[in-house]
Each structure stands twice: as C-alpha cells, then as structure tokens.
C-alpha cells in the first residue's frame, strides 16, 4: 500500500507535521504513511480488485470492494422498502 490517497496536517506546539494517508479499497480504513515505514506495515495490494487495502483486509483474504458493499446495502434497503418494511 503505497499510493497517496489523502493528506493529513497536524498543526501543534512543535510545528507542522504533514503526512500522506492511504484509504483501504475494501473498508475505507485510513492509514497514515510515515516516512521510512515498511511497506508491509501499510497493508497490501488486492490482486482481485487491483486496489490498495489495509493490513486487516489483507489478513481477511477476501475481496469485497467498498463500492460493492454499498451497492448491497442500498439494494437491501430498496428491497425492504418495496415490501413496506422500513429498514
């Protein structure tokens, strides 16, 4: 997981710290990328959806992109509402 997908700025008493962040394609977990950090500590790359993922999703070993998870949630809500059930 090495592609920058966000940017964090911490303005504190000791000055300004700027960090790159990476967003997991499966769960949207945000990871701060520190200079010199080992690539393995940042997560990995899903070979199925070809996107960067966090360490937890690497351990899960399956591929369900966040887009697909949202599509399922929205479809479930639409189905329940079509039956007259409020989710």
């Amino acid at each position: 997981m090495a592609r920058q997908q966000g940017y964090a700025v911490i303005t504190g008493p000791d000055g300004v710290t700027e960090l790159r962040t990476s967003t997991c394609a499966h769960c949207q977990h945000l990871t701060h990328m520190h200079a010199g950090q080992r690539a393995a500590d940042l997560g990995g790359h899903c070979r199925i959806c070809d996107k960067d993922i966090c360490g937890r999703c690497v351990d899960l070993g399956s591929c369900t992109p966040w887009e697909e998870q949202m599509r399922r949630m929205e479809a479930r809500q639409d189905a329940l509402r079509s039956y007259g059930i409020s989710p």
């Binding site: 966000g6 940017y7 700025v9 911490i10 949207q28 945000l30 949630m73 479930r76």
Partner: protein, 150 residues
C-alpha cells in the same frame, strides 16, 4: 455533485468516546455522501493533554442537535445530508474504526482526501460517519468542521 460545509462540537470531552460530529444521510431521499475534508481541535485554554480520536460508521441517529450544512457555491441546491453535533445519546456505531489517532490538545488535525478517494457514506437511511473524541484529562469543548459532497 455539490460541496457543502458544516461545523460541529462536543460540549465536554469525557474519558469515554463521544461524537463531536456525525455526518449522516437523511431517512428519505438519501444520496451518497463523500467526506473529503475535516478539521478538528480543542476549543478551550491550551494545555498538554492527549485527545484520542476515531472515525466510525454509524447506523442510527442518536440524540443530538442537527446543523444544516451550507453550500460552498451559493447557486447549489440545499443540502439533504445532515450534520449532527452536541450529542447527548450516541448513535449505534459499528465495525472497525476508519481512522484512530492521538493528538495533543494544543494541536489541530486536518485530513484532506485526494479527489476520488473520499470516505463514502452509502445512500441508506440514517447511515453516517461519526468523528469521536475522548481524553483522560481534557474535559471541555472540542470540535471542527467537515466539507463533503453529495
């Protein structure tokens, strides 16, 4: 998609996590919400304490005060998404924290997503993102602002 901004606070940080801002979809006419920018910080007299933050997905409203987000472009339509703050009863949150970090009470933290890499809230009723804070010593106002698209 149009961009909107809204501020939110928690009146008193406690030793348990409390939501300072909850961006959520309304119960009807939902749209996907893309959180692309937020800034948070403590609002009282500076001191060296730790504030722990995390972002969780929420699935209920809780008991809170709603803020109507403002369109960054005045020509855009009114926002349908809602930002809740001054939470008294926390919403149901679940799953793994999307982000968890610690910051000095004197610090300000800002996160900005690269275009297309925003945190997305699905278009399902009352689903949202809760930015929560706790501190073992700081016990006053904490808040910030969010900028999002819908």
């Amino acid at each position: 998609m149009s961009k909107y901004a809204a501020p939110g606070t928690v009146a008193a940080v406690t030793t348990g996590y409390k939501s300072c801002m909850i961006l959520r979809a309304p119960p009807t006419a939902m749209r996907r919400i893309k959180l692309g920018d937020f800034v948070v910080g403590a609002g009282d007299v500076p001191a060296d304490n730790v504030c722990n933050l995390k972002i969780l997905r929420s699935t209920t409203v809780g008991t809170l005060t709603d803020v109507v987000p403002t369109a960054l472009d005045p020509a855009d339509a009114a926002c349908v998404s809602i930002l809740g703050n001054l939470v008294t009863v926390e919403p149901t949150t679940g799953g793994v924290a999307l982000m968890a970090f610690a910051m000095n009470q004197r610090a300000t933290y800002r996160w900005v997503a690269a275009p297309g890499e925003e945190l997305i809230i699905p278009a399902t009723a009352n689903n949202g993102l809760a930015i929560q804070v706790q501190s073992p010593a700081y016990a006053s106002v904490f808040g910030g602002s969010v900028i999002f698209e819908e």
